[in-house]
């Protein structure tokens, strides 16, 4: 089973939950797909056994063959190439705008004048901690999109024989869609504040569009506060678990630790309930 964990915004406890959950159901694979800010490793403290560069093709102009016709610059949908025509004959490339789409190479009329070369955009690290396998992607600063690296992570986990917990990026935009769309089940972590419910409603909208089975987990739950449950009932979504607010947990979290054992039993039974629903 591939279970993705998402939240409407950062800071709701998505990583806290993902990490507690992955540890509870191990042996399994935990994947940190929040490639702009991967945090899961801080709490799981895996031993990294393998690190692989993630690269994508970017254009390189061969001055001797280039006629500076400007076709590539005109065709580039992201304005990443600038060609200054003769007599100046200069070419400029803005890597932070490039999406590695391949249009420039396709339209270049001069054979061999524009080639594509790999450019490192991030890294994938693989490791292990006790019986939990670990994988994370780290995107280089300035890279315009997290999506290609997340897609690479998905390629790598596609044939994993056991359960996978995907710690998705926060929010509701493209990277989150990429991380969650092939999951069997999505857990939405929400906090019981007006903000929390508002943000939850946005991510619910996205998940509904993707038609993925989902349920809610309340984090930082407070006694007598059921605003998330009230919202969930209106939408007909199950709330499967509540992690109570605890200063002790907040303090541990700030030190990079989590009380894994405290949640093991509860999260194992949550896993069973999800398994029933996925069928």
């Amino acid at each position: 089973m591939k279970i993705a964990v998402a939240s409407g915004k950062g800071g709701t406890g998505k990583t806290t939950f993902s990490v507690l959950f992955a540890r509870a159901i191990a042996p399994a694979l935990y994947v940190d797909a929040d490639v702009e800010e991967p945090n899961g490793g801080i709490f799981l403290k895996p031993e990294i056994v393998h690190e692989q560069d993630f690269a994508e093709p970017v254009p390189k102009i061969i001055p001797e063959k280039c006629t500076y016709c400007g076709e590539c610059a005109r065709a580039c949908p992201y304005k990443a190439i600038v060609i200054i025509p003769p007599p100046a004959k200069k070419d400029l490339f803005f890597p932070e705008l490039c999406h590695s789409c391949g249009v420039c190479a396709f339209v270049c009329p001069e054979k061999g004048a524009l080639i594509e070369v790999p450019k490192k955009k991030g890294v994938v690290r693989v490791g292990k901690t006790q019986d939990l396998d670990f994988m994370e992607g780290i995107l280089n600063i300035g890279e315009p999109s997290a999506v290609p690296l997340i897609r690479e992570l998905k390629r790598k986990i596609k044939d994993y024989p056991g359960d996978v917990v995907i710690d998705a990026p926060p929010g509701t935009s493209c990277p989150v869609v990429e991380a969650t769309e092939d999951a069997d089940f999505v857990i939405l972590v929400a906090e019981p504040t007006p903000f929390g419910v508002h943000d939850l409603s946005l991510v619910v909208e996205m998940i509904e569009q993707l038609s993925l089975p989902h349920a809610i987990v309340v984090n930082k739950a407070q006694e007598g506060n059921f605003i998330v449950e009230e919202y969930a009932e209106k939408k007909g979504i199950e709330v499967l678990y509540r992690i109570p607010f605890s200063e002790e947990l907040a303090r541990m979290y700030s030190k990079g630790n989590l009380p894994f054992d405290d949640f093991r039993e509860g999260l194992k039974s949550l896993y069973e309930r999800i398994k029933e629903r996925v069928g």
Binding site: R151, T172, H198, L202, M206, Q209, N225, Y253, K255
Partner: protein, 297 residues
């Protein structure tokens, strides 16, 4: 006249960025300063819950175009699917279909299609709003969940805020930036006069803050650190302060963690208005930022 743009970001969500920005708003208003509020956190725009804007104008925002295959013209040659680098073309029931969620809008398929069966169609990806609040004019936006282009919508929000500031001669623009790093944050930092980075004293936040600071550095924008939820972990706080000293980044101040702030949040009140300690700390921070911002022409 170029308005001074003060942008508030955090390396990740949950550090309390919106709490701080809204407190800035309240405080600047209390001091009689004129400013435009720009809520650039378009994936999860939270400022409007606290500021209660009255929408006066709204416009749909057209984002990138996505490819659409004309069934009638398509000859199923498969060239588009093979060339697409984003895995966006599938065959569904013998028909070639572009998945609009995966399509990057790069136009390669449209260019390559031998029978010109593919068209690029602009997509509405959200809406932006011009509103009034009791603190001043506000620009905010909403992205359709699942849609991309936060970077461009962020740019639009800032652009509209600048238009207002010019028209009404307003000297400051306060931007509540999106969390994380990457395209939307880059857009929010570009053109800023100052970037305040909000961190909380947790182990992961320091690691996140480094990346956020690197982004601001990459763009050469003056920046400084604010520690929110101060008191949870004094050790980490010291580490953060040392980091700022080592890098020569100004440390702007700390805002304490307290139940008062949490209660304010739950009751939809602005933290500075409800908690006097928060008001005092934000006052300090705010005057330091204005000092830096008004130094440069």
């Amino acid at each position: 006249m170029n308005a001074k743009e003060i942008v508030i970001i955090s390396g990740k969500g949950g550090t309390g960025k919106t709490t701080i920005t809204s407190s800035f708003v309240w405080l600047m208003h209390k001091h009689g300063e004129k400013f435009v509020i720009a809520d650039a956190d378009v994936d999860a725009a939270d400022m409007h819950i606290l500021l209660e804007p009255k929408i006066e104008y709204e416009e749909e925002f057209v984002g990138k175009s996505v490819a659409v295959i004309d069934d009638a013209e398509c000859t199923s040659c498969d060239i588009c699917r093979q060339l697409c680098r984003f895995d966006a073309i599938d065959i569904v029931d013998d028909t070639y279909r572009v998945n609009p969620f995966k399509c990057d809008g790069c136009t390669l398929c449209a260019i390559a299609c031998p029978v010109k069966a593919i068209e690029m169609v602009p997509q509405v990806v959200g809406k932006w709003f011009l509103s009034s609040t009791k603190f001043g004019p506000m620009v905010h936006a909403r992205l359709i969940p699942g849609a991309e282009n936060s970077g461009n919508l962020v740019t639009m929000v800032k652009h509209q805020a600048h238009l207002i500031s010019e028209k009404e001669n307003i000297p400051y623009i306060l931007v509540d930036g999106p969390p994380g790093i990457g395209c939307p944050v880059t857009s929010s930092i570009s053109g800023a006069s100052f970037v305040a980075i909000v961190v909380e004293p947790s182990f992961s936040a320091i690691h996140d803050m480094e990346r956020a600071t690197d982004t601001a550095l990459h763009f050469g924008v003056p920046h400084g650190i604010i520690i929110n939820k101060s008191g949870i972990n004094p050790e980490n706080e010291e580490q953060i302060k040392e980091f700022t000293k080592k890098r020569g980044i100004p440390f702007l101040g700390s805002v304490p963690f307290s139940m008062c702030v949490i209660d304010a949040l739950v009751n939809k009140k602005i933290a500075a208005s409800a908690c006097s300690e928060v008001e005092r700390k934000i006052e300090d921070i705010f005057s330091r930022i204005l000092e830096v911002v008004n130094e440069k022409p």
